[in-house]
């Protein structure tokens, strides 16, 4: 059963002074099945963040449809959107987006509190997730006191705590060193193996090689996709590299 259906998505940005129009997405169509781990790759400026923002309902498309679990995003009222987003989606960003006025614990708990959870329930939900992500010892610290990788794991914990249907990640490894990147990718694979659906935008071939499917975007369209099939990570890595070479040398569309 598909959890996410994206069809004929189009986004045109109009600059502040009206004049210039930028076509960020021309025509994007794809679906994501439940339990899938999808990586989206593409050159800088190809429209990946734009796509993710639309999926996250942070932005509205110019045309096209996004259906999440059978519910069309454009049909949701503005006032209910935030609640919908909180209950169904989890986010991980490149710049972590942690609130520096909150401790690690509070940063993770924030979505739950916003959902109106009872204060007594919070700790019970927090502990297992923190343990799984290896940040149990850091809960009382503040973002400025922990490393980038720990920050990103905090962000992942924050995304997971509401049991979202879909996790959206925009270049989650972009600001991390290779050790932290490996840690994070392991975390993603773990939670994916437990059934969590993940959609991740990335520039890193290594990160993408952990996914079960890789989508390539060029000029605002889905240009190509690779299924893992029976490949090992290394084999998938090779396939992705080849495709990327093809992309940059300007090969023909599939």
């Amino acid at each position: 059963m598909s959890i996410l259906e994206v069809s004929n998505l189009k986004k045109i940005y109009t600059t502040r002074f009206g004049g210039n129009k930028v076509q960020a997405l021309t025509n994007v169509t794809f679906t994501v099945e439940k339990g899938e781990y999808v990586a989206i790759m593409g050159e800088s400026g190809s429209g990946k963040t734009t796509l993710l923002n639309i999926l996250a309902a942070l932005d509205r498309p110019t045309a096209g449809k996004v259906i999440l679990e059978g519910k069309e995003l454009s049909g949701i009222k503005e006032s209910e959107m935030a609640t919908f987003r909180r209950e169904n989606l989890g986010f991980v960003f490149q710049e972590f987006n942690l609130l520096d006025t909150f401790s690690i614990r509070d940063n993770i708990l924030l979505p739950l509190v916003l959902n109106g959870a009872k204060p007594s329930e919070l700790e019970g939900k927090l502990q297992p997730i923190a343990e799984r992500l290896g940040i149990s010892d850091l809960l009382a610290k503040f973002p400025y006191e922990v490393s980038g990788g720990q920050k990103q794991r905090t962000a992942v914990a924050r995304a997971l705590i509401t049991d979202p249907k879909l996790i959206l990640a925009d270049e989650p490894t972009g600001a991390l060193d290779s050790k932290s990147t490996d840690d994070l990718l392991r975390v993603f694979r773990d939670i994916n193996s437990q059934g969590q659906t993940i959609l991740m935008v990335t520039h890193s071939t290594k990160a993408a090689s952990h996914a079960s499917r890789v989508l390539f975007i060029r000029d605002g369209e889905v240009f190509h996709q690779i299924y893992r099939g029976d490949c090992t990570n290394e084999q998938l890595y090779q396939k992705i590299s080849d495709t990327l070479t093809l992309l940059t040398t300007g090969g023909e569309k599939r």
Partner: protein, 708 residues
């Protein structure tokens, strides 16, 4: 050539950063202007020569000092804020390959330009409004308007010199900081994340202790005279307490809230509590300053408005509820040589003589004496021990006044009946009494029922109708009138007291103490308005004094060694004096309040700007995490409102606590009307809150523009 380039760069920098520079320059202009006005007012002889206006220069000088202090604080405040915001830009220049020396040149020109604009426009602004201020003062003092453009070159020079020195100091400080910063530090700052605020326990304890002590002093001051030193003690303690509690108390309180999980982990509270924690850390000083300034404005305005509007009432009360127009007090003094030393004797002039010569004087000025009543009395502070009352000597105004101390005005029965129109009789050995203030307790609380003063024993008898008297000296404690059977009794008391004083202090040349009867007469004239027009108090009294002296010479006193003293206390003289004093105080109150309000607005404006940039980031994250734009705006607005109104609430609480002390201080200034003061205070608070709200609205607009 090269300097020209730096100059042009500086110009364009100022234009680019107008959001920061405009308030900085406006503040400079305003402060320079107000300081110039104050200084010129303090030196303008035309004002000093207004009837009763001798106090104006002194009052305006106080204003000068206050404005000067505030100027230093504000100029350095805006300067440091400006520098904090510009540091990154300077760092950028440095990193891009400009030498620090050259960055220094740019900074110099920026400072120079803003300083020159501030001072020049400030002095011009001051000159422009000076005339307006003069007109306004004359209106308030009920005197003819002083016309003509007035510029005192000395004041101009002093103003320019003073402010230039201040700005130079600020520049040197900036330059010093620039020289010490390394480019990395210049560029850093954003993205490092602010440390979590810690509770400063020592500061918290200090704050609680000082505020508690200040409030305690304010609330327990009993007598008006003690109110003066205590008031200042309390003010200083409360200022320290306010700063300390804003710094430490707010954070301790919010952390306590955060500890309470049931409260903290709620939609509404979680974000508000943590954000406020950081806001308080960054703004505690600014907010505490606003609270202090706000309290200052409210106190200044409520008291000066009250004094000014209550002037007529004060005068009426002072002159026996309007039953009198002039109090005259006279005595003669005769000096003679004894064993090579000059000694002088005081003696009284007969009542009929005083009356006759007074009628003559009044007639000469075109009016007539309607009534002439003796109001002879002894007014002093007494200390009672074992039933014996002695004159109390204050060693210093800060000394504690012991229990059993009270001010008495002792009046003979005949004078009391004459003035009050009553026909009181006294039992043998008893004295009548009344309390001057309705708040005072029964006299027997301090004075024993059986007591002696000056060797004369008396028993406290019936309470009689209150006379609207104003004691000669300030209220020291509760003040009571004592009615003794006769003038002879009063004189006997005074003689006895003199003997006692002589025994105690006679050998000590530091004290020249004696008790004496005030031979005061209460005079009513037919047409006081007319006299007010022709007399500047001194004229009539000196005419009267001359007549007295001539009469003494006629009576055979030695012309050269005899003086006649006539103290002349007229309602019109008092009116001139009070209007001059309270009018100029009122004016000072208005002007200083405007400066304070301006300072408040400035602090708030800069606070909004600096918070705006921080909040923008938070705003975006919160939306990504799943809050609607409306919710986010709601939380942020709620925080801003709390932070904004905290100082106002603090100021109102301070004012409520200070209210009783100020009321007592006003009594010292003979302001008897409590209702009027309550009204003035309430009106001031409301007016201030409204203006504050307007400032909030205006600055909030800038804030939301940044956040969006």
């Amino acid at each position: 050539m090269k300097l020209g380039l730096f100059f042009r760069l500086a110009c364009s920098n100022i234009r680019k950063n107008h959001q920061l520079y405009v308030p900085h320059i406006l503040a400079g202009t305003g402060l320079t202007g107000v300081f110039y006005v104050m200084l010129t007012l303090a030196n303008d002889e035309r004002l000093e020569n207004i009837k009763g206006g001798y106090a104006i220069p002194a009052i305006m000088s106080i204003g000068c000092v206050v404005v000067a202090i505030l100027s230093v604080i504000l100029v350095f405040f805006t300067n440091s804020f400006l520098m904090k915001q510009r540091t990154r830009e300077y760092g950028m220049y440095n990193v891009l390959g400009m030498e620090k020396r050259h960055v220094g040149h740019i900074m110099f020109f920026e400072n120079l330009i803003s300083t020159v604009i501030s001072i020049v426009s400030g002095v011009l602004f001051g000159m422009l409004i000076y005339k307006l201020c003069c007109m306004f003062i004359c209106k308030m003092l009920h005197v003819e308007t002083i016309l003509g453009f007035y510029v005192d070159p000395w004041c101009v020079l002093k103003t320019i010199g003073g402010f230039a020195a201040m700005y130079l100091a600020a520049f040197l400080w900036n330059r010093f900081r620039l020289a010490r910063l390394r480019p990395v530090e210049l560029l850093a700052s954003a993205g490092t994340g602010e440390k979590e605020p810690k509770v400063k326990w020592i500061l918290l304890v200090i704050g609680l202790a000082t505020l508690g002590a200040g409030y305690y002093i304010a609330l327990t001051v009993e007598t008006p005279l003690r109110a003066i030193p205590n008031f200042f003690k309390a003010v200083i303690l409360v200022i320290i307490g306010t700063y300390a509690l804003f710094l430490a108390g707010s954070i301790a309180f919010l952390k306590l809230l955060r500890k309470n999980k049931e409260f903290y982990y709620r939609r509404k509270n979680m974000i508000a509590v943590s954000d406020l924690l950081y806001r308080m850390k960054q703004n505690a000083i600014g907010l505490a300053s606003i609270a202090i300034l706000a309290t200052g404005v409210i106190v200044m305005m409520s008291t000066t408005v009250c004094l000014y509007t209550g002037t007529e009432e004060t005068i009426k009360k002072y002159f026996l509820d309007g039953d009198s127009d002039v109090f005259v007090k006279t005595y003669g003094r005769y000096s003679e040589e004894k064993d090579g030393k000059w000694e002088s004797y005081h003696f009284q002039l007969p009542e009929e003589t005083v009356r006759e010569l007074l009628e003559k004087t009044v007639k000469e000025y075109g009016s007539e004496v309607v009534s002439f009543k003796p109001m002879r009395n002894l007014s002093d502070v007494f200390h009672f021990e074992n039933g014996k009352g002695t004159i109390y000597q204050t060693r210093s105004s800060f000394a504690l006044i012991p229990e059993g101390t009270v001010q008495l005005i002792i009046i003979p029965l005949e004078d009391y009946n004459g003035i009050s129109g009553q026909s009181v009789t006294l039992e043998n050995g008893e004295v009548g009494w009344f309390a001057l203030s309705d708040d005072s307790p029964e006299i027997t609380k301090t004075v024993p029922k059986q007591f002696t003063i000056g060797g004369q024993s008396m028993t406290i008898g019936n309470k009689v109708k209150k006379l609207s008297l104003t004691p000669g000296e300030a209220y020291t404690a509760d003040t009571y009138g004592i009615i003794v059977p006769s003038l002879e009794k009063l004189e006997a008391i005074v003689d006895g007291l003199d003997r006692e004083l002589d025994e105690e202090y006679g050998g000590d040349s530091r004290y020249y103490l004696y008790a004496s009867v005030n031979y005061t007469y209460s005079v009513q004239v037919a047409d006081p308005k007319k006299l007010a027009e022709v007399d500047t108090e001194q004229q009539m009294s000196s005419t009267f004094g001359t007549y007295l002296h001539d009469r003494l010479v006629e009576l055979g006193y030695d012309e050269d060694h005899t003086d006649a003293y006539a103290y002349w206390d007229s309602s019109w003289g008092m009116r001139n004096e009070l209007f001059a004093m309270y009018g100029s105080l009122f004016f000072l109150g208005i002007l200083l309040s405007m400066v304070f309000l301006f300072a408040t607005a400035l602090i708030i404006y800069y606070k909004q700007i600096s918070e705006g940039y921080d909040d923008r980031g938070r705003f975006q994250i919160l939306q990504k995490v799943g809050m609607t734009q409306k919710e986010t705006k709601g939380t942020i607005r709620r925080q801003i409102v709390i932070v904004f109104f905290l100082p106002l609430v603090t100021a109102v609480i301070h004012m409520i606590v200070a209210y009783p002390v100020i009321r007592k201080l006003l009594k010292l200034l003979m302001m008897p009307n409590d209702t009027l003061f309550l009204l003035c205070t309430a009106a001031t608070v409301v007016a201030f809150a409204l203006i504050y709200m307007v400032i909030y609205r205006l600055t909030a607009r800038t804030y939301y523009r940044i956040v969006r």
